[in-house]
Symmetry: D2
Subunit: 285 residues, 4 copies
């Protein structure tokens, strides 16, 4: 099934005829559309988003031709932003982590179980050596790159070397700030998990601040990292109910379950080409 | 916006080209597709379901021609089941109720607020007079039709008269059984709310049985009524957490909030042509 | 049952023996403890909170004596803050509202159904006349008190007259700011519903700001009003999942269901003496 | 803190004075009650349940004396069922598993993280050798005991040897039926996770049957195993929303997350002495 499945993603200024043009193109190529989602951010003057999954016999061999034909026949006339991605090729994913293992292990464990089939986790980079052993048992390379405010230039240079060629960088509780330069140069989206329900409690110590404020739900947020801390486009969020009895340790423990769930969904959806950026927010098909 | 919006729903045996044919048809008619959902129940030998929302200038005047053209050019060659429904025409909805007011009032109140714009509630039929006053304040006709096992034939004959011409009959906690003959003859789907998480606790007294079994969540289920009690295709379900402290009265009270929420969603989705039957279950777009 | 039920609530600095002293007192009075909750905010140097429900034959006649004995024998020696409230006497509740009816109607409707048996809603005060008719059908007095920044002094003076003698003031989407003077002088807790998941989106237009930020859940928060806007102790919160498809109108509609649910729980819990203030947050038993 | 903490659990026929007698006893012993929960299943003719957590200096040395005094002074006169458990002594827990690793690994991983401090997992018994390697990395003994309908007598004899001395047996997706004799002889509660929202889909293949019935939520249930399959007292349940798009594989994958969460909560609550059996259901404090 997956061998001949492809995903076509389109973004453009909203105008009539895009769906018809794209589906007619796929039909004339002999493809069968099996999933289709579209969204217009605003009937007047909005952006248009389209994601189609199709099956096409011999997709792998025909991919280059298909892309060229789509560019010429559909994308150029309609001024579309687009990509076609074969479902059989998983995204190359790099993980960055500090000392907390829950997000990291959940991703590695799901990959091993075959539940993250659209992601190929190729490396774990950490600013601490602590999790080397845990990662080793999954057969994924672990690289320790010390990072502090003082070491940041060297660390980021090393990161750029290590992360070259990856399609996605996931900050699975990586607790150092990444510079705007790094985010620009790394050449792949950087997806972060923040341990609060953003925009509440952006920044440091969200669980302690949640306790202080007396909230009755705590949450986690997966978002694309941008230069402004915890302000990037949100992909997924979830919450869990807490009471006055939960101290900061209990909040941290309960929250860690939400963090790993939210991060895993965001990684999976990103790798399935379901997440499209719409200015400061996202469309998730 | 709604004036020129139409909804096209298609069901057929799964085969390639349906999406392309439908979207090309709409494009050549000058329509702009604004929503699109599709589903194939099985890649081999499955059923295919499609729902598109489109905008077409002058839809009201062009509706007959559009339907004729679609039947001739697309539906007949591809052997499609289909309907085209103008979004500006709400479904005519009849409510049936016994003594419990929570589902009924929530629907009437939402209709008054303009939150059920795809439903036009035209009548309330009840086997008890109790809720006549509450209904009167919403300006909807209330008809009392006594119904018991003995009176059922007369009651159902009267129901058929009253409900003629409606597009949907909603059992908003109507506590009498309807016969298979009635369900066949009424000429519209009948949508029921059952006060349990089906298939658990089908039949009478679900909250008392939930208490006895000691479940930790109680629920409600909206489904299409079929001759077999509480066994029809499920449209929507939801649950709420309960503890050992909740007695049957508290379960009933907590459950009533879930019932009205679940029923309202099901009615709304049905009236937006989002619910398609797939044998014993439903596709909800 | 309720006729002889009483609720005893205690707050004090944490120290050993409070539970034993209180329960021994109730036992020697012939009372049977049927519910008991306690919480210590910190094992070192914390505050202690206790709520007991008890049954005592002839409670109504014995109430004054019981209070005097408790004050003398238990509260004074242990330096307790405390109150004893007979469950048969509902709290006198005043509602304030502007134009949105969903929170107001849900409270009135539940009171009529007998679901808010610990609250006696005695008045509705509004800065707009719009909801007079809807309130009239519930048999509750409706008083229109215009209020703007310019009229605030007169409005608040009138409010103080109208609200004298009430045990609780509920802002059921009252969209004018109340002054610190008013909050001090009104002589009852003021409970507000804010249409966001605080501390996110405090202040005006939370749904529009939620849309702009692209959150994937929206929420509502019930809290005690304090002079600082939307910063008072939180009683209850809840959220609902939303997608990129929901515009501000849809967010507002979905959010209104959460608002009324959250507010109703908070009002009910407050009236059952379940909510105790702990500095900037609450203990909810 | 935990060193001197104890848990006292009481069940008896409901009668006045139990709370007072128990709390006075603890106070006179010099204990400080830090948590207290009670429940009466019925004001007339019900059962009464009480759980208190207390701190008492030198608890370990004083435990025998405390128990003897409680038996003599409180339990005997009032005819109480009771136990006193020091919080510093975790329950000895045995896990049984077949081939699915998700429930097992989550429990082992949480124990390693220190999140299951009231459980000491001492052994994993499996009817398949598959998970030996995964368990080895956690330093817990793994014993393979083949089991089929034909081998059941020998298998259960071996189980009784292996499980002797354990306080709790957890069936973490153990897919063989255990006999009534085994359940009686094993000398510890047996806690099972069933992969459906009971009482719906008791027995085999619940996800396939859920798909067939077209439910919109799937769930999991942790319960005490009894001779009647999937009919024992329920401890915890939870659900997750699904759509028509989820096939049986996806249901199984989504469900496995709920299973492990529900099982972990049930194990934790049981080991904290929070779960009391009340005929066919449970009280969970």
């Amino acid at each position: 099934m997956r061998a001949n499945a492809g995903r076509l993603v389109v973004t453009c200024d909203d105008r009539p005829g895009v769906v018809a043009a794209v589906s007619r193109f796929l039909f004339t190529q002999g493809a069968n559309i099996t999933e289709s989602d579209q969204f217009s951010s605003d009937p007047e003057d909005g952006r248009f988003f389209l994601r189609m999954v199709f099956h096409l016999d011999g997709l792998a061999e025909r991919l280059d031709g298909l892309r060229a034909a789509f560019a010429r026949e559909v994308a150029a006339p309609l001024a579309l932003g687009w990509r076609i991605h074969p479902a059989s090729v998983p995204k190359r994913v790099a993980l960055m982590v500090s000392r907390e293992d829950h997000c990291l292990l959940d991703l590695l464990w799901r990959a091993r179980r075959g539940e993250l089939e659209d992601a190929a986790i190729g490396i774990v980079v950490s600013n601490h050596p602590d999790l080397a052993g845990a990662v080793a048992s999954f057969g994924v390379p672990f690289v320790h790159v010390p990072n502090t405010r003082a070491l940041r230039p060297q660390a980021e240079a090393r990161h750029l070397e290590l992360l070259a060629g990856y399609d996605l960088v996931v900050l699975a509780r990586y607790m150092q700030i990444l510079s705007g330069d790094f985010l620009r140069d790394v050449g792949a989206p950087v997806l972060n998990i923040h341990h609060s329900f953003l925009p509440a409690f952006a920044g440091a110590d969200p669980y302690a601040r949640a306790k202080q404020r007396g909230v009755k739900l705590i949450g986690a947020t997966a978002h694309y990292a941008t230069e402004e801390l915890d302000a990037g486009p949100i992909i997924e969020q979830d919450v869990i109910r807490v009471t006055h009895r939960a101290d900061v340790d209990v909040l941290t423990r309960l929250g860690s379950d939400i963090e790993r769930t939210v991060l895993r969904r965001a990684v999976q959806w990103h790798c399935e080409d379901r997440v499209l950026r719409d200015r400061a927010s996202t469309v998730v098909f």
